[in-house]
């Protein structure tokens, strides 16, 4: 034992001696505040930032450089006041939330970053809706929120339809479906900003590529697992592994910041009756509705659609009546991947792109699917619309940051009263 310890220590010592090499440089001493200003993906140069102590003593005033970065070193740790001069921002930019003062704390030997999120001036007006019209403000607001709820609900429905179809045919509760949504948005971003394509062809490319990746995913991964006889709960936990894996791969390639597409970022709203909407949202909703209708008709009318429903009902019986179950599942994965990607692009268009965007909506997708009834394609549609509407309309009464709480609470209450969901069948709940 003693000899082993000595030998091990000597080995480690030798290893350390060999590998330490030149003394490792300490990270640069940093005690202060810094940040980076970007507007629509571009760095903001020349924005004035004044740093003062908590008591109001000015410390330093700096301007952001060509990379949008600024940096102020301070003597003492403590609380500081950082003021961004709105007049020094680009003409069409403003600070999100309107507050141009931050009070961060500097810790000993550490640099704190200070965030100022910038947005286009039109964007805020678009969010606030119109307040000046003649109808009573409550109903105007309710109409506006209903519209926004439908917008969100349709996006959730696209993603939920794919999730529900995959669940119905394979029994897999796919926790990585949110990452398929992110994948679509990031692929479109890569074609759009990386290769300089206009957003519309970029989106088409992204959807096609995502469909191919969906096919590949089933061909090379999930299909193989099914052949090995992996249980459904094992597959569910594997999908969590896939979700973590993909999410951090996105983080490595895409980075942790938020981005937006090169086109259609800030559109002024147009007034339609009591609501104001950006034209891009109307077009997006039209496309979403069209895709949902096409997939629905395909499920009801085409041979493949009927086969898919047969597989969902009873895979063994479907196989024995001559349906190629694996082939059907592969088509479902292709379609599911493609429409999840479309949902991601639409989500990126109406909000922003971030590597966690899919993860953030995953629970809402689940809520939509469960509310409608697990495994029923049309239930997923209805459930998602309900979730989307509920989330937006509930902000009439609850603070916007808690809007998802209401939707999730409704999910739990519906499960108490009607566990099979709105359109589900009793036998499925087990």
């Amino acid at each position: 034992m003693r000899r082993a310890v000595i030998a091990f220590t000597a080995f480690l010592g030798g290893l350390v001696f060999l590998l330490v090499g030149p003394a490792h440089a300490d990270p640069a001493d940093c005690q202060g505040l810094r940040g980076t200003l970007t507007f629509q993906g571009q760095p903001v140069n020349g924005a004035r930032i004044a740093v003062s102590t908590e008591g109001g003593q000015p410390v330093e005033t700096v301007t952001s450089n060509a990379q949008g970065a600024w940096d102020v070193q301070v003597e003492d740790p403590g609380r500081y006041q950082v003021t961004l001069d709105p007049a020094s921002l680009p003409q069409n930019a403003e600070i999100r939330g309107g507050n141009n003062v931050r009070t961060p704390t500097v810790y000993e030997g550490n640099c704190s970053s200070v965030l100022f999120a910038l947005q286009a001036k039109g964007a805020a007006a678009q969010q606030q809706g119109d307040e000046g019209s003649g109808a009573s403000p409550f109903w105007t607001q309710a109409a506006q929120l209903t519209f926004e709820g439908l917008n969100l609900g349709l996006i959730i429905a696209l993603a939920a339809l794919g999730l529900s179809l995959i669940y119905g045919t394979t029994g897999l509760t796919n926790f990585a479906h949110g990452e398929l949504v992110t994948l679509g948005a990031i692929l479109a971003y890569a074609f759009n900003v990386g290769f300089g394509l206009h957003l519309i062809p970029a989106a088409v490319c992204a959807v096609i590529l995502a469909g191919m990746l969906g096919y590949g995913q089933d061909r090379l991964f999930w299909g193989q697992l099914r052949r090995r006889g992996t249980g459904t709960i094992a597959m569910m936990i594997i999908s969590i592994g896939v979700a973590i894996f993909l999410r951090y791969v996105f983080l490595i390639f895409f980075g942790g910041q938020t981005e937006s597409y090169a086109q259609y970022t800030a559109q002024p709203g147009i007034e339609i009756g009591p609501i104001s909407a950006a034209p891009k949202n109307l077009v997006a909703m039209g496309i979403e509705l069209a895709v949902l209708v096409v997939v629905g008709i395909a499920l009801l009318r085409t041979r493949t659609g009927k086969a898919a429903r047969a597989v969902a009902d009873n895979p063994a019986l479907a196989a024995s009546s001559g349906i190629n179950v694996d082939g059907v599942i592969r088509i479902i994965w292709t379609v599911g991947g493609a429409i999840a990607a479309l949902a991601g692009i639409m989500l990126g268009l109406s909000q922003n792109l971030k590597y966690t965007m899919g993860q953030d909506v995953l629970l809402l997708i689940f809520a939509g699917v469960t509310l409608g009834g697990l495994g029923t394609a049309f239930g997923a549609l209805v459930g998602s619309l309900v979730v989307g509407l509920f989330i937006q309309v509930s902000t009439l009464w609850v603070p916007p940051e808690l809007k998802s709480v209401g939707a999730l609470a409704v999910l739990i209450i519906v499960l108490l009263v009607r566990p099979q969901g709105i359109l589900g069948r009793r036998e499925r709940i087990g």
């Binding site: 220590t9 590998l19 936990i237 969590i240 973590i244 490595i252 940051e401």
Partner: protein, 332 residues
Amino acid sequence: MDWITIFSTTIKSAVGVETVLYALAAIGINIHFGYTGLLNFGQAAFMAVAGYGLAVTVTVIGLPFWVGIAVGLVAAAILALLMGIPTLHLRADYLAIVTIAVAEIIRLLFRSVAFKDIFGGSDGQRGFSGGFQALNPFPEGEYGFNLGPIPIFFAHWQLWVMVVGWLLIALCCFIVFLLMKSPWGRVLKAIREDEDAVRSLGKNVFSYKMQSLVLGGVIGCLGGFIYGLAYGSVQPDVFGTETTFYLYTMVILGGAARVLGPVVGSMIFWVLLVLLNGTLSEAVAAGVITFIDTSQAGALRYVFVGLGLILLLVFRPQGIFGDKREIAIDAR
């Protein structure tokens, strides 16, 4: 490359605070998932209500430390009842989705501006561990030894948290060992294997599942206390869904339905994660690896966590100690 620091932090992580708190929460998951077959994906919520129960009782209401611990334990038990009532009648995947939803609701409420006066918003609460550190029997200083050239030292306050934590782990493992040998534990395992068979023997399956959920939740909530006491603060985003997923990785790595599985799983998970992180970030800083930067190196280790979870379930679902026949992964 500073190998001494890498080895020092890696060896310390095998017994460190993070390992302790995750091991406790993972023991709770093991009772739910390993023994009873319940897919509770909301374990982070139990840690959160315990940590916040302690924090709010001490800082906002101003009651002593022991009352805070009691509030946290009661909150965890109530949460288990609330979570169980709508879901325990349902199939495994419904339970998974609802428990995630509950955990997310709790996290959003804790970080909301509306309750900032109570829960402190996204900054969380701090300054409630004084009562615990006042009980610290270790005088101020650094404790430890040198393993050859590698220093392994813990500050007195860390050591105190670790001693309490490992005693709790030993106690919980002992309780789990005794319970799972008892008739009660055999009913739990039978529920995992075939719920209908147990029901046909006249057992109240719902009640057993609920007891399992409460017991695992209360043990899991000890992890939340350890987090709060070790770092002197709680933040809502620490108790996110990913925390629960890492706990599952640990339980499966060590071996589900084994008394020591989650503890060993937590130790291995953190040793590997810290070693990977230290090596990668040092390699990037020293210019050995040039194609990624430091923040990407931080993300890369979680890519490996995801990959590890996939490979583990595909090739060795029973983990290190487990028995393949005892893993509840082949549900209906």
